[in-house]
């Protein structure tokens, strides 16, 4: 049985594109090879609209909109690249780099880090803001994985994958504001938590915050592409 779906046409960066009515601007842009940077978005997980890197301009509105949750509309004129957006994206990246201790040279994810890649793509050369240098713990209690809070950007992908896909909801966020931190169970050590050892959180982590202990010193690429397939299998399609 097929249900009729309305198709909309819109313009992204001057290119005419068509989209199903339930698609987001981000989906359509990616389909058309238009790059919009994202960190919290991951195909297969619910959207939270938190990293603010995917903000785009829409003609006729002074406000900016997160492409990941912005539904397409007929005749919409979207701009994904402008001096203003580039400036905002760079500053947001600066805020991320200055928030914790992101030292690429000694990071397990060096070369495989989404934060690093996006910073390069946006031409971020230096950070104007003072580094906050917080003292954060590294949790090595798990027999296979480790959590280095110094590298965490609070994208909550681990929280979502654990709750939505694995169904265990071992991860969540404690505290608020600048004091937020990801935790397992009642802020217990990861190793003695109710973790199912499935490793999905490590695969979806965009930085070196969650990593496989066996990958220290060797390249540590991550494979989050399993998610959409897993969802498809689950839906029985």
């Amino acid at each position: 049985m097929s249900t009729a779906v309305d198709v909309k046409t819109l313009i992204i960066d001057g290119v005419d594109v068509s989209a199903r009515q339930d698609q987001t601007v981000l989906d359509v842009a990616r389909e058309n090879n238009i790059f919009i940077p994202t960190l919290c978005h991951l195909e297969g997980l619910t959207e939270v609209g938190a990293c603010r890197l995917c903000l785009v301009e829409i003609k006729g509105s002074p406000k900016l909109f997160p492409a990941c949750v912005l539904k397409v509309e007929e005749g919409m004129q979207v701009t994904t690249k402008s001096d203003r957006l580039l400036h905002y994206r760079r500053t947001i990246l600066e805020l991320l780099f200055a928030e914790r201790n992101h030292v690429c040279a000694v990071c397990v994810a060096n070369g495989n880090c989404e934060l690093q890649t996006i910073a390069q793509s946006q031409g971020l050369t230096h950070v104007r803001l003072p580094y906050r240098n917080p003292k954060l713990p590294v949790d090595l209690s798990h027999e296979r994985f480790a959590a280095d809070h110094n590298r965490c950007i609070l994208c909550t992908r681990c929280v979502r994958v654990c709750a939505e896909i694995e169904g265990a909801h071992v991860w969540d966020i404690t505290g608020r504001g600048i004091d937020c931190r990801v935790i397992t169970d009642l802020d217990d050590p990861w190793g003695s938590s109710s973790c199912t050892r499935c490793g999905k959180c490590v695969q979806v982590c965009p930085t070196g915050a969650l990593f496989d202990k066996s990958k220290v010193g060797v390249p540590h690429p991550k494979y989050p592409e399993f998610l959409p397939y897993l969802n498809l299998m689950r839906d029985g399609q």
Binding site: I92, E99, R176, G177
Partner: protein, 557 residues
């Protein structure tokens, strides 16, 4: 409940009044209660009985002038007494029918003259825990009329025509919001009353919830009928224990009288309200965060659209209005939309309650028609700045608002005028500052507030406010450079335009507005390392203030 029965109750209340020659309304608001107004009331009741005078002593709500508490209002002479103590009870009773007790008498004609009470009409005149007294003042007549004579569309039409706009800060047209929820597909629908009065320096909602809770229940019920909801929640701060207990008691009373529950007033309309406690998170004033909190989750906002009107509580269509907005509903339906629209300005109708605090002679609650100038509020009603100090700025809109200087005092209060001047209406806090306040320090105070109240979900607000706070601290300490100031301004722009919710988007407002009107104070901290008001730490380290001032003059010339 039929209209005859309602009239009967009102008549009963009127006859009750006739039993007495005098009525003394003793304020039992949180402010007066803290100053032991309950003890005074008990003593007064005893004295009244002993005197043999036909006098009724009533526990009433807030009278507005909280700083002069405990307060009591004597009817019918309308004599207001303040700073009352147990030992004054005898004198007060003796003076009934005679000359007022000079020592305790508060004579502030100017304070009351310019005010117009709609929301606060019953506050301080009725016993908030007695539903019949509310009915005696015309309460629930609007609900009865709505349920028996009007269809939902007509109710929404009245609210729309009245020009009422959301009193929580944003000023979204209430009629439009109701219409959207009414049209939204999906059921059930929910009504939420936002009583999470998080703006520090604002206590209008607390006073209404404590002083006239039935008015809010009636407003919510009318809204429920208009949009087709059968369940409501009121979200009240846990920091307001008195408001919580009064409102809980009022819900029971309303159920007892049949204004909540099934088949209200003999019609098929069903509606009930549940109270939910906040737990100390300013961000829960944001509607999507508030919804998350009612659902028992961390109070983090989510991107809109979808708006709560379409997908709110448990993804159902939800109407969220603030306490003061709901408090305006019953009077509008009782007196008609034209009556309400007759007050205020072109685009801001009705009245607004403000909490007037800070360096001002008469602190307290005031309700004024929209369009009144700031000068009138601060200098006529508020009595100006005390102790011979000079007015410097007035802060409106809480942490999302801004500081307006003397040259804006003739600004007429309206949503749009305040935004145009770089501030906002907010929920109604109005904090007056004099020359002893440093505007950089004030800006830092608000940014610190936003930093600690940020939920941490989106990066611009989470880390941006922390960086802004660091830069402002540097300026306050006299250690900042012009480069730091430029960086601060840049960060303000980024945080304002890229944050997820209203908290982040407005967090830079206090900085931007003080930069706009008090830039010289920032420069004084940076160039001369001194705090003109003598508040910041840098002024203590200032070795040669005179010389530095001279340098500064030369630079400017």
């Amino acid at each position: 409940m039929t209209s005859e029965e309602l009239q009967q109750i009102a008549e009963g209340v009127r006859l009750e009044h006739e039993n007495y020659d005098y009525e003394v309304n003793v304020c039992m608001g949180a402010g007066c209660l803290a100053q032991h107004s309950d003890q005074f009331k008990n003593a007064l009741a005893k004295e009244a009985e002993a005197s043999g005078k036909r006098c009724h002593v009533r526990s009433a709500g807030c009278q507005g002038l909280c700083a002069a508490g405990p307060l009591a209002l004597v009817e019918p002479s309308k004599t207001l007494y303040g700073h009352l103590h147990e030992s004054d009870a005898k004198e007060v009773i003796e003076s009934l029918g005679e000359k007022p007790v000079e020592r305790l008498h508060i004579q502030l004609e100017d304070y009351f003259k310019g005010q117009r009470h709609v929301v606060l009409e019953n506050c301080g005149h009725i016993d908030p825990e007695k539903i019949d007294e509310y009915i005696g003042c015309g309460g629930y007549a609007a609900l009865l009329k709505v349920l028996t004579e009007m269809d939902p569309a007509a109710v929404i039409d009245q609210i729309a025509k009245s020009g009422l706009r959301g009193r929580g800060g944003g000023g979204y047209p209430t009629g439009l919001k109701w219409g959207t929820v009414a049209k939204a597909l999906g059921s059930p629908k929910y009504i939420i009353c936002n009583g999470d009065e998080g703006d520090p320096g604002a206590f209008m909602d607390r006073s209404v919830l404590e002083g006239d809770p039935q008015r809010v229940i009636e407003g919510m019920s009318i809204a429920a009928y208009a949009v087709g909801a059968s369940k409501g929640y009121i979200y009240v701060r846990a920091e307001y224990p008195l408001a919580v207990s009064r409102f809980t008691a009022s819900l029971r009373e309303a159920r007892r009288r049949g204004f909540l529950g099934n088949n209200i007033c003999g019609t098929p309309f069903n509606f009930d309200i549940e109270i939910r406690l906040g737990a100390g998170a300013f961000v829960c004033g944001e509607e999507t965060a508030l919804i998350a909190s009612i659902e028992g989750k961390r109070g983090t906002p989510r991107p809109r659209p979808p708006y709560p009107a379409v997908s709110g509580l448990w993804n159902c269509p939800t109407l969220i209005n603030n306490v003061e907005t709901f408090a305006n509903v019953a009077p509008i339906l009782r007196h008609g939309a034209e009556w309400f629209a007759g007050m205020g300005t072109e685009r801001s109708k009705g009245t607004k309650v403000f909490a007037l605090t800070g360096k001002i002679t008469n602190t307290g609650l005031v309700e004024i028609p929209m369009g009144m100038s700031l000068r009138e509020i601060i200098f006529s009603i508020g009595g100006g700045v005390p102790d011979g100090h000079k007015f410097k700025a007035v802060q409106t809109g809480g942490p999302s608002g801004g500081c307006l200087p003397e040259e804006h005092l003739d600004l007429n209060i309206s949503y749009d005028a305040l935004i145009g001047a770089g501030s906002m209406m907010g929920s109604g806090g109005m904090i007056v500052m004099d020359d002893t306040s440093c505007m950089v320090n004030v800006a830092r105070f608000f940014v610190e507030f936003c930093m600690t109240e940020s939920c941490g979900k989106c990066i611009p607000c989470r880390a941006g406010t922390a960086q802004m706070y660091g830069l402002l601290t540097k300026i306050c300490n006299g250690e900042a450079t012009h480069q730091d100031l430029d960086l601060l301004i840049d960060l303000c722009d980024v945080v304002k335009n890229t944050s997820l919710c209203g908290l982040g988007q407005t967090a830079p407002n206090p900085v931007l507005s003080t930069l706009r009107y008090f830039r010289d104070e920032y420069l004084e901290h940076i160039d001369n390392h001194r705090c003109p008001a003598g508040v910041c730490a840098c002024s203590a380290n200032d070795a040669k203030p005179q010389e530095r001032t001279k340098e500064r003059v030369e630079v400017e010339a």
